[in-house]
């Protein structure tokens, strides 16, 4: 578990460093994700896969992903000055935009899958 966490932190650190050095417009953790993904696929090709600790740490984090958003969400208590008088309008935009995004994304995915193939949905 700790070994796995160390690996995840290292890959995030690599990601952040690459973004800092190159000025890429991509978040550091996402670059870390791509690096870890590449490392795992490469080692699978070479027939060497000892990723058990990383798999355990990843499983533990992803199983409690929701928890990680709680501290930012509690920030709602400190918002008074921004949303004054705009709460209803913000709520309207937020809900409608979420529903539109859900629908558009789903339609594009299902439509492209029908057009391009890619196997039947299970």
């Amino acid at each position: 578990m700790i070994k796995g966490l160390a690996a995840l932190l290292l890959f995030q650190l690599f990601g952040e460093s690459i973004v800092f050095l190159t000025g890429l417009a991509v978040p550091g953790p996402v670059v870390g994700l791509m690096l870890l993904f590449a490392a795992m696929l490469t080692s699978a090709r070479l027939g060497r896969s000892s990723w058990k600790p990383v798999e355990d740490a990843s499983g533990a984090l992803l199983a409690n992903l929701g928890l990680l958003f709680v501290p930012a969400g509690v920030g709602v208590v400190a918002l008074g000055r921004f949303v004054e008088g705009q709460t209803l309008a913000i709520g309207f935009v937020l809900v409608l935009s979420a529903v539109l995004t859900l629908g558009a994304t789903m339609l594009a995915f299902v439509g492209a899958r029908r057009l391009l193939g890619g196997g039947d949905p299970e």
């Binding site: 995840l8 995030q12 978040p27 550091g28 953790p29 996402v30 870390g32 994700l33 791509m34 870890l36 993904f37 699978a44 990383v54 798999e55 990843s58 499983g59 984090l61 992803l62 199983a63 409690n64 992903l65 929701g66 928890l67 990680l68 709680v70 501290p71 930012a72 969400g73 509690v74 920030g75 709602v76 208590v77 400190a78 918002l79 921004f82 705009q86 309008a89 913000i90 309207f92 935009v93 937020l94 409608l96 935009s97 979420a98 995004t101 859900l102 629908g103 558009a104 994304t105 789903m106 339609l107 594009a108 995915f109 299902v110 492209a112 899958r113 391009l116 890619g118 196997g119 949905p121």
Partner: protein, 239 residues
Amino acid sequence: MKSPTELWVYLSASPLIWLTLTVCVWVAASELSIRLGRNPLANPVLASILALSAVVWAAGVPYQRYFEGAQFVHFMLGPATVAIAVPLAQRWREVSRLIGPIGAALIVGSVTAVLSVVALGKLVGLSGEVLISFLPKSATAGVAMAVSASLGGDPSLTAVLTVTTGIVGALVVTPFMNLFRIKDFAARGFAAGLTAHGIGTARAYEVSATAGLFAGIAMALNAVATSVVAPAAAWLFLR
């Protein structure tokens, strides 16, 4: 011997109590969600935020002090994003067959997420600062806050809009998809992760492993897409 009041004054000023409360409230909320059969309305993220906000507000503790403790949890958002590489690599064979639908849904979804905010926000007359902070709300919290800051928005406002979007997406996705009889769990998950980032992904994992995997992929890809689409939309429409 000191009094209980002194103990509270001591504890409420220390990061320990806010970290402990955050984790314990989460454990209780997710237990409740499991007991209620993972009903979308019993969303553990929403329940935890409501409970903790009530405590912080009632205790009269400034958010900054709460965050001094809770930041240790918040910090794990980075490693958790990296962690998505694991299921992605494990199931790459299955995912790689769907590159076409993934690409199409990513482009359509990331543009819709940002442009719908521009259009609807102008319609109801949101202030410029709110609108800029609103744009990246479908990207995962860390990324959304960074994008917002780079555009001159307010990261703390963006954090709340992002988390709220995540909760709304997680609440709506299951009834929405059932209404339209969508049985393709890759599509359902992808839409949840793209719209509602990690909170949508957490919800998707509650429903099915396939939905969770595709939600995680969508969350990672949309983090990248939003960091391109949101600045472009700001430059085009909000100058």
